[in-house]
Symmetry: C2
Subunit: 247 residues, 2 copies
């Protein structure tokens, strides 16, 4: 089975957790928007799949096609895909837990996105910068400790489900990497509270297929158009969080 | 199997889509927080399940327990529960589509929540009222037409999947009811563009078990502590949306 992934060509975004799973598994896939237009690629291909006439039209990318099946919603795609490419944990209970964790990662990413777009996705950052500063402070001081502390607690072995990596580990790697890009000072302040996640991040990065992918031009760098963006004024070393967490 | 649902006792919130599925199916369940404290009820029971020592600790309610299985994340709970109580659509493809739609309902609810809490869940509405007005305008004018138009497009028969109701229909009923409570003027302006959803809402409300539930004291009314809140200053008749949608 050769999979077809549809996601915007210039940002890692919500497509990247799916790319990481496919790459780590060595599964064959086309990252359709990154194919040349002559082969049906480009962002126009994403726009086309969003207006598909057959079946349920996706609300937003990422979209995965497998034969005649078309799925949207990143966590949903991974829940379906991972067992087929050997990147789901073993057993039904663990697969249910994996999806639950992935949906919580999804929730965190939505909150991270809203730090730079607290008012509207349709407005520029510059038009909601004052609100962004307020929201980012609460993300750093309240939400990051809560989410990351919960993920830290969920890690059972070297990986979340023990000795074998799953798509959840790959998504947590991307989460930590993205947060370090966006909020380096806040993440530096939190690092000592997250020893398992820090180790997991490094362990994932050194997996042979992942390392090869990360060094390739298939890997898209974090940038100022994605979910994880670095605006210096939205980052701070978390001085307030220690106070609020101990109160 | 008698299910145990854990959700805050004073708001319909993200617990209600699960209550609606259980009620419409006539499935036996305890709404644990609404039991007397002498029977282990009260909101303290929700707080206890969030700090459970065994297995994956839930990040947030709702939580469903079925025997020794414990699940969190409303859409995840419904994807697991619905086939067991006869409220999933028939066939694997339709069940995947149902989960995809439910996750999109989840996304809309998060955006609705953020209209009254655009900066931080930990702050009062009054402390983020100016931002709330800006965000609510964009929800009304851009996001509601986009989400609701997508749901409208997804309805194939009298119900989303044709002649038989599924949990997705029950959740769309709650979505329409909640939006009418929160944004009556905006929803009134949108009604003519949503004939299938309007009919689906009425059809669900008249289902015998649902009608009995809605008339009972088990049904919690929308109020100013839930996801769907009515603040008059956040509602408007959508005059701007027609302009932006046609541009």
């Amino acid at each position: 089975m050769r999979y077809r992934l549809y996601y915007w060509s210039a940002i890692p975004g919500r497509g990247e957790p799916i790319r990481l799973a496919l790459e780590d598994a060595g599964a064959p896939y086309d990252d359709v928007a990154r194919l040349p237009a002559s082969q049906g690629g480009g962002d126009a291909a994403v726009a086309r799949v969003l207006t598909a006439k057959n079946g349920l039209r996706p609300f937003a990318p990422p979209v995965l096609e497998a034969g005649s099946l078309r799925l949207a919603q990143a966590a949903h795609i991974l829940h379906w895909l991972a067992p087929r490419i050997g990147r789901a944990p073993a057993g039904e209970r663990a697969r249910l837990a994996a999806h639950q964790i992935q949906l919580t990662i999804t929730d965190l990413w939505a909150e991270v996105h809203d730090t730079h777009h607290p008012i509207a996705v349709g407005l520029y950052y510059e038009d909601q910068k004052a609100e962004a500063k307020r929201r980012a402070q609460h993300l750093r001081d309240e939400r990051l400790p809560k989410f990351l502390g919960w993920f830290e607690h969920a890690v059972k072995g070297p990986y979340v489900f023990g000795r074998t990596a799953s798509y959840v580990d790959l998504s947590l790697f991307q989460t930590i990497a993205g947060l370090r890009y966006a909020f380096p000072r806040a993440m530096n302040a939190l690092a000592r509270t997250l020893p398992k996640l820090e180790a997991l991040h490094d362990r994932v990065r050194e997996r042979p297929r992942l390392a090869a992918y990360l060094a390739s031009d298939r890997r898209l760098a974090f940038n100022q158009d994605g979910i994880f963006r670095h605006y210096d004024e939205l980052d701070a070393p978390l001085a307030r969080s220690r106070r609020s967490r101990s109160s």
